[in-house]
């Protein structure tokens, strides 16, 4: 990976984590509410996968703040959404779980586990139909791989040879339930094996993630059909702010944090590009500044007007022809 890209990825990871900690802080202050799912620990995945996937369409879950920002949605618009403000990316109507921006090929932000996977399949159909080569990536957790929507999607994507990248973020837990207690496998790629090639990657290693997604994207562009990537990862916090994380031992948490993705990327920059402390400190302070600015922006942004309640129900004059 070239130096500039490595620096960008590092920046996004650091900014992402700072963003999440800021969200946590303002949730505890009561300025953010609802379900807030932090991506801390999983930054390598969220950042490097988005970077590598380029312009293709991305469908994701409720744990999507960092992905949304890497796709190009400004931290201001994301933080303002968490604050429920009119200048949030979904104008305060969606909140943390529902960030959408088609102009950045980013479609959420879905809070029904697995529910967005069939949507990604349909979009991949559209892209193939249109002869677009960019393809579609759908990101989901290990828990989503037990649901019917996921399985139907493997089958259809394979039967139709759709340009769809399945990216499973396997953090081994669905809220408090370890995946091995409700699935016969620890690695969920087992489930995709009959249908498509599967690859595994260390989800804590941004360089590795970037490489595997780049390769997968090239595979999609060849028109061979879908591909499945499983990234083993680990979340540092509870499932959402309402989860005390009591089901994981201190030892398990320590093992998990020993694989820290930001430390790993920093080490990469230091060893491969001999990046020095000052540059790294600069990146970190720039990231923190942007997050602070986002919080300031969100705090000051206006509440939606009462009329907003009824806006965006239907397209007005949306018929391109009646005859």
């Amino acid at each position: 990976m070239d130096k500039q890209l490595a620096e960008e990825i590092y920046f996004e990871m650091v900014r992402g984590r700072a963003f999440e900690y800021a969200a946590k802080e303002h949730y505890m202050k009561g300025e953010i509410s609802g379900f807030l799912h932090l991506d801390i620990g999983q930054e390598a995945l969220s950042v490097a996968a988005m970077k590598a996937f380029g312009k293709g369409d991305v469908f994701s879950t409720y744990r999507e703040h960092i992905m949304a920002m890497v796709r190009g949605i400004s931290p201001n618009a994301v933080m303002a959404e968490l604050f429920g403000k009119a200048e949030g990316v979904s104008e305060g109507k969606g909140g943390s779980m529902h960030l959408f921006d088609p102009s950045h090929y980013f479609y959420g932000g879905d809070a029904i586990v697995g529910g967005h996977i069939p949507n990604a399949v349909g979009c991949a159909y559209a892209r193939k139909y249109q002869g677009e080569e960019s393809g579609v990536m759908v990101v989901f957790g290990d828990g989503a791989t037990n649901g019917g929507a996921f399985f139907e999607s493997l089958n259809i994507a394979s039967a139709q040879k759709l340009p769809l990248l399945f990216l499973c973020e396997n953090n081994e837990y669905a809220i408090g339930t370890n995946i091995t207690r409700v699935s016969p496998f620890k690695k969920q790629s087992k489930k995709a094996e009959p249908y498509m090639p599967t690859l595994e990657v260390d989800g804590m290693d941004a360089v590795a993630v970037h490489k595997v997604i780049t390769d997968a994207k090239a595979y999609l562009e060849k028109g061979h059909g879908p591909i499945f990537i499983e990234a083993m990862t680990c979340r540092y916090e509870g499932h959402s702010m309402s989860d005390a994380n009591a089901y994981r031992s201190a030892q398990e948490m320590a093992q998990c944090k020993a694989r820290d993705p930001i430390e790993k990327m920093k080490h990469y920059l230091e060893t491969v590009y001999e990046m020095d402390e000052t540059v790294i400190a600069q990146i970190e302070s720039q990231a923190q500044q942007e997050v602070d600015a986002a919080v300031a922006f969100a705090s000051e942004a206006p509440e939606p007007a009462p009329e907003a309640l009824y806006a965006h129900m239907f397209v007005e004059g949306g018929n391109h022809a009646l005859s």
Partner: protein
């Protein structure tokens, strides 16, 4: 033209006009659709545009949502309403909500079509009606075609609109005959006055409109009055203007639907009129609906479980006599 031919013609025309329109569903392609609504489309437009799907209703609707996000105009067919239950998550959590949750950033030009209702001895898992549930979901337009001309125009409208539509058909209407006036597009949200009258407003939709019309001579003759029969056409939004005008004239409301009475769709119409036009009513409103049981297989029991022209006439006449119509 037959009702199913009118639907087919509507699809054919929009597909010819806009290559973003695709149809998808079980057996809609090579087989031509269980009720022949999509007949010929695969041959004419290819299998990429008349897409045979596996038996996976959640995906049929879920994929349609994604196709619409990707810029197509999908028209999904669910073979029978009962199977649509498997897609309720996609219909209600996704299709109906993405636009609102994204503050209008996502637009879903799509239609989900399905036939419903009691046909002929298909038993409990193939005989239900879900407008009660689906017309209550904010974010969806819900049309119900009882008339051949309406079916043609309304389906075209739904496909060409940028909003998500449910388009409800009835299994016993596919072979209904009627004329289509191709040159006069209509407003799909406007209720249809099937027959004008003075003394009673009878509101209905889908197949029950025909059953009401079949019961009408007996009702009018026995009660010695004339009834106005209204086909709602659009179940959400409802054309309350037309209802209001009619009830202002007649002062009486009868609501007829095929679905189980408890919690049925008609409750909304009756309660809205009771709330908003209470003083205009000269008699209690009457609801005629199906029995609160799963639909049985046996033909006699099946007919006992839903309104028929005879039972409609009987109920309206008894009510009319009691309340001096």
């Amino acid at each position: 033209m037959l009702y199913r031919e009118a639907l087919n013609k509507a699809l054919d025309e929009v597909m010819a006009k806009d290559e973003n329109v695709v149809v998808l569903g079980e057996d809609v392609g090579l087989y031509g659709g269980s009720y022949r609504v999509t007949e010929g489309l695969a041959v004419k437009y290819g299998e990429r545009r008349a897409i045979d799907t596996p038996i996976a209703e959640l995906s049929i609707v879920g994929n349609a949502v994604g196709m619409a996000i990707g810029g197509l105009r999908p028209v999904a067919e669910i073979m029978t309403a009962n199977f649509a239950l498997l897609a309720f998550d996609q219909i209600i959590n996704h299709m109906a909500k993405y636009r609102y949750m994204s503050a209008g950033k996502i637009t879903l030009p799509m239609v989900v079509r399905f036939p419903q209702g009691v046909s002929r001895q298909l038993a409990a898992q193939h005989s239900e009606s879900y407008e009660q549930m689906l017309a209550a979901v904010p974010g969806l337009r819900v049309l119900a075609a009882s008339d051949v001309n309406y079916a043609y125009h309304a389906l075209k409208h739904a496909v060409l609109s940028d909003d998500p539509y449910l388009f409800i058909e009835h299994e016993l209407l596919y072979n209904k005959k009627g004329d289509v006036d191709v040159d006069r597009p209509l407003d799909p949200f406007k209720a249809r006055i099937v027959k004008e009258g003075e003394a009673v407003t009878i509101v209905s939709y889908l197949k029950m409109v025909d059953d009401v019309m079949a019961a009408l001579p007996q009702i009018e003759e026995t009660l010695g009055c004339s009834c106005e029969v209204i086909d709602l056409c659009s179940l959400n939004p409802v054309d309350y203007d037309t209802l209001r005008k009619s009830i202002e004239k007649t002062s009486r409301l009868v609501m007829v639907e095929e679905d189980h009475k408890t919690g049925g769709y008609g409750a909304q119409i009756v309660s809205t009129i009771a709330e908003e036009m209470f003083y205009a009513l000269d008699a209690p409103p009457l609801r005629i609906a199906g029995e609160d049981v799963p639909v049985p297989y046996n033909r006699r029991l099946e007919l006992q479980s839903i309104p028929t022209p005879d039972s409609i006439a009987e109920a309206v006449i008894a009510w009319g006599r009691k309340h001096d119509v």
